[in-house]
């Protein structure tokens, strides 16, 4: 099983979830659409698009929930002909994270929800404190690389 993560602390909880719930795709992301971990995607750019759309679904359904019930919906489930998606938030010390998962008839929404609750608990227990803005990551001379890459990108 291939799990790719941006922050190491999400790897074990995500691995447990994928194994236990038998889902085919899983994404952990921030509400602004940044990926923290994924299983099942083969292209990084597909992951980014899926994250953008998942964040949008969550944002709009949360607002709809607030309008209708005075609070965001706890989760969202779409059932297609062969595949289903489940999207729900998990509160951690790192702030709210979203989990988007895709599954087929190898499992069920009940099983997925059951193990999602476990995932939520593991994320809550394992989350480090709030993230501080990264700095000093790039060399002072980064503009040279940036200009060269953008020039190549736009074939100028």
């Amino acid at each position: 099983m291939t799990i790719a993560v941006v922050e190491p602390w999400v790897e074990a909880p995500l691995r447990h979830f994928v194994q236990d719930a038998q889902v085919t795709l899983a994404l952990l992301l921030t509400p602004s659409g940044q990926v923290l971990g994924q299983h099942g995607f083969t292209r990084a750019v597909d992951v980014m698009a899926a994250c953008a759309l998942a964040a949008a679904i969550h944002a709009s359904s949360s607002e709809l929930g607030k309008m209708l019930e005075g609070k965001p919906f706890a989760g969202l489930h779409h059932a297609g002909a062969t595949r289903q998606i489940f999207l729900a938030p998990a509160e951690t010390r790192r702030g709210t994270l979203l989990c988007l998962t895709v599954f087929d008839d190898a499992t069920s929404i009940g099983i997925v929800q059951l193990y999602f609750d476990e995932l939520r608990g593991r994320l809550e227990a394992g989350a480090p404190g709030a993230r501080t803005p990264p700095t000093g990551v790039l060399a002072d001379t980064f503009e040279q690389d940036l200009n060269r890459n953008l020039t190549l990108l736009f074939r100028r």
């Binding site: 790719a4 993560v5 941006v6 922050e7 190491p8 921030t30 509400p31 602004s32 659409g33 940044q34 990926v35 923290l36 292209r43 990084a44 750019v45 597909d46 980014m48 698009a49 953008a52 759309l53 949008a56 944002a59 709009s60 607002e63 993230r131 803005p133 990264p134 700095t135 000093g136 990551v137 790039l138 060399a139 002072d140 001379t141 980064f142 503009e143 690389d145 940036l146 200009n147 890459n149 953008l150 190549l152 990108l153 736009f154 074939r155 100028r156």
Partner: protein, 216 residues
Amino acid sequence: MSLVNYATREITCKIVYYGPGRSGKTTNLHYIYGQVPSDRKGRMVSLATQTDRTLFFDFLPLDLGTISGFTTKMQLYTVPGQVYYQTTRKLVLQGADGVVFVADSQARQLEENIESLQDLHANLAEHGIDARLVPLVLQYNKQNLPPELILDMPAMEEALNFRNVPAFAADALHGPGVFETLRGISELVLRRLSGATSSTPSATSGSAVGVDAGRR
């Protein structure tokens, strides 16, 4: 906040194109999408109405290549410009590492530009972000239109650029200024990740980059 993956040496940043309706935000992304080789971009996602007005956002993931040893990815978003999509704009703005404000240079659109800039500041404040600190560049789009219809660069600067941020003239439909704007905001966003936190951006405020090339 930019995501940095030290294990795989990857950086991911979110850039939001903001501005009034029909100012050319989606056109910027379409031009970029058309210019960039397919192995350096993802699918452009557009959540639009049947008349191709942006309903939720446009999204374009871009691979900028290796910068200081880090694979650098930019996620470009647009917001819907129409006044009544206020909530949606706020949602898309969440977590932005940098903002491109696309202004419409037509003289009759000045009021809309100012309102949209105020709306941007209000939405940033609602996210707890100090508008004076977020990386921001201005793009004065449609500078290729006949001079009697538009405000020139100094007039646009006078009306909108009170923070004296980098500003670029553009004709997003045909390309001039699009590349320079992307370079300008990328530089500001990445500067935050570099050791050079205090140096001045090299993008030139008030530059009329390549506008004549797009004049019809």
